[in-house]
């Protein structure tokens, strides 16, 4: 809806009647001899000049009035006009972020070791969403044939097929373009020797244009001075940077907070201040970063060889966990070899100014974190291998984006508070699973489960640091998609918290899922966030309970 009325049909009939009456009243005062009830003057002059034109003008005035002040915008952000809201917000240094297109890689598998050309702008589709190749790509057989940055090597998959990856971008802007790694993407034009194609990496960074309600949330940050000082100041400073403008939320832990342990690194275990921990929710979902890793055989068991690889601090800064280890030739939706050990470490380099981190718990989910991962390969026969042999594996690592970049920004000499150091961490994850039934009467239409799941994911992943998740919130979101004689069963909420020390805590509830108040393990409502993907929501539609007329 724009500021201008574009059709007379948009007018509110009550408003038209009111403006016609007001117009007639004014005319009556000036010209008492004119007949104001039914007649030519009433039906033609006052109806059009007073009622319709007056209603049109008043409608536009009302649109301005409900958009041109913070008070009016806060009363109902959905009614405010974007253009005027933008002007108001600019007074507070708040700019509306435009939507962005999701970007990622598409892996294409072919059956022959022969050159393949992918034209620029080639379209790949999944779930009705289109992605366009960023450039023209040529897959070639050998390194010596590589001529251009957009040339790719055909990598043997070990099963007689070959693969290569291209960069692609969602055609339409918005978060709907974000995809999980491994999602099948179908080309719209034929590809030579084509076998399959899928998202080789997560498609990420697709965002919607900010709504007025989101702009209001940023308002406090806009007013706050951009300095590394108070919570609002720090959030405002970070989100003012273009690179971090679309990050979601931060929880700042400092002196006096029970979660702050780094300021007790003295002889006496008492807080001395001078430390800041910034728990960061930079995106609705962590990225799944895919990479090839060379693993070393370190042991042989009855189930298979035990292999080990390292994750360096720049591989996936601030990562949560390794979610998948497979052979390079495996399809991306293959399960994972069992991970038997996840040993975290720290890589703090003396030549850099770094936060004071003295153990892996303090360094968990920071850019300084490293890890050694062990897993059992139940496919490769270790009989002919010896300890120390190496082999490549494809590894999927779950990580919040931009942790390294935010850490580097916060420690810049011009940015940081000179009286403190700052550790930027990904928020402690509470991976959610939600299950419930929609109980409906037989005659009602099945609700749109896909839309319900997407709405739930959007709402929960944008909660910030709430400390608890209410079943009533899930019911509220879901009911927007239900009709009468459709309701919810008990809502089962299941959370898996990966503590910074690597242990797992399970929480479960059907009414309020509460984050434990466990500052000793750095798990509290101020450090921990709920994370949920559509794949982790189970909704069953059952015809049950409602009375049936017979």
């Amino acid at each position: 809806m724009g500021l201008n009325v574009t059709s007379i049909d948009e007018l509110d009939p009550d408003l038209v009647a009111q403006t016609q009456d007001e117009f007639a009243q004014l005319v009556q005062e000036k010209y008492p001899e004119i007949l104001l009830i039914r007649g030519v003057y009433h039906d033609l002059v006052s109806y059009f000049a007073g009622g319709v034109c007056g209603g049109l003008n008043q409608t536009e005035i009302n649109r301005v009035l409900r958009s041109n002040s913070l008070k009016a915008i806060e009363e109902d952000p959905t009614l405010a006009e974007d253009d005027i809201v933008d002007r108001v917000m600019s007074n507070y240094r708040i700019m509306r972020e435009e939507g962005t297109n999701a970007i990622g890689e598409i892996t294409i598998v072919v059956s022959e070791d022969e050159p393949v050309i992918i034209h620029s702008g080639s379209i790949f589709t999944t779930n009705g969403i289109e992605y366009r190749s960023d450039d023209a790509y040529t897959a070639r057989q050998t390194d010596s044939e590589i001529l251009n940055p957009t040339d790719r090597i055909l990598e043997p998959q070990g099963d007689g097929t070959y693969s290569f990856s291209i960069d692609a971008t969602a055609v339409e802007e918005g978060s709907a373009g974000n995809l999980n790694r491994g999602t099948i993407m179908v080309p719209s034009t034929p590809i030579n020797n084509y076998v399959t194609s899928y998202a080789g990496t997560d498609f990420a960074l697709g965002t919607n244009t900010e709504t007025n309600a989101e702009l209001l949330e940023k308002l406090q940050l806009g007013i706050a001075a951009r300095v590394m000082q108070g919570r609002l100041n720090i959030k405002g400073l970070i989100k003012e940077q273009e690179q971090f403008a679309r990050t979601l939320d931060y929880s700042i832990i400092g002196y006096g907070n029970p979660e702050m342990e780094r300021d007790q690194h003295w002889i006496w275990p008492m807080s001395g201040g001078g430390r800041l921990d910034i728990y960061s929710r930079t995106a609705p979902l962590p990225n799944s970063i895919s990479m090839l890793k060379t693993a070393t055989l370190v042991d042989v068991t009855g189930e298979g060889g035990v292999w080990q690889f390292s994750i360096e601090r720049d591989d996936a800064p601030g990562f949560y966990e390794v979610e998948q280890v497979i052979l390079p030739s495996d399809a991306p939706d293959t399960g994972t070899f069992e991970i038997t050990a996840d040993i975290r470490g720290l890589d703090i380099r003396p030549e850099e100014f770094s936060p004071d981190l003295i153990n892996t718990v303090e360094g968990a989910y920071t850019k300084y974190q490293t890890a050694v991962i062990r897993f059992i390969d139940t496919v490769t026969d270790p009989a002919n291998l010896t300890i120390g042999d190496t082999q490549e594996y494809r590894v999927g690592i779950l990580a919040m984006p931009l942790i390294k970049e935010i850490q580097d920004f916060c420690l810049q000499a011009d940015t940081r508070n000179l009286a403190s150091d700052i550790a930027v961490k990904a928020a402690v994850p509470c991976f959610l699973t939600i299950n419930f039934d929609i109980r409906k009467a037989a005659e009602t239409v099945d609700p749109d489960v896909t839309s319900i799941k997407e709405a739930l994911v959007d709402r929960i992943n944008h909660l910030g640091f709430p400390g608890q998740l209410h079943a009533s919130l899930i019911a509220e979101v879901t009911h927007d998609y239900l009709e009468t004689r459709q309701n919810l069963s008990r809502i089962d909420m299941h959370g898996r918290i990966r503590r910074p020390n690597g242990t797992i805590e399970i929480i479960r509830a059907t009414d309020i899922l509460q984050i434990p108040d466990d500052p000793g393990n750095l798990v509290t409502g101020n450090t921990t966030e709920f994370i949920i993907d559509v794949d982790n929501i189970g909704i069953s539609i059952v015809i049950e309970g409602y009375a049936v007329e017979v």
Partner: protein, 165 residues
Amino acid sequence: MSRTFGNPADYSGRLFDLLAFRGAVPVGQTLLDQTLFGTDASGEVCTGVQMLAQRWLLKFLTISGSMTYLPDEGTDFIGQVRRGELVTESDIEGAFNIAAVEVRTALLNEETDAMNDEERMDSAELLQITLADDSFSLTVEITSLAGTSRKVILPIPYLPIKVGP
């Protein structure tokens, strides 16, 4: 006994409206011109029983629902004509009577005691129906509370009037 017109001296200080059905004469039959102004004049006003007749005609001839923000305006009479539901004199008379009751009720509801009796509704009587191939006409006598009356002839085509080439 009703009179067909009042004394001009009586109209001083009365309410008036713009004249939409021009060409009316105090006595006798004449075809009205539905315009606010023409080549002969830049517009006229009306008052008294002429204004009452105009109010009656506007309500009677407006197709119900055709004014977007005045959904209660009009009657269904012209709508019935357009839909081809009025074929015989009996059809027309029946529809007229229903619409005339609606019009009278609406006019009475909006009138006030402050209005002159010559501007207030008393009755509308269908005097004559004339059928032709592509139209029919109604002769209606509208009488005010003061007893003055106006006869109007309404030529009503079965199809909407086409304007332009």
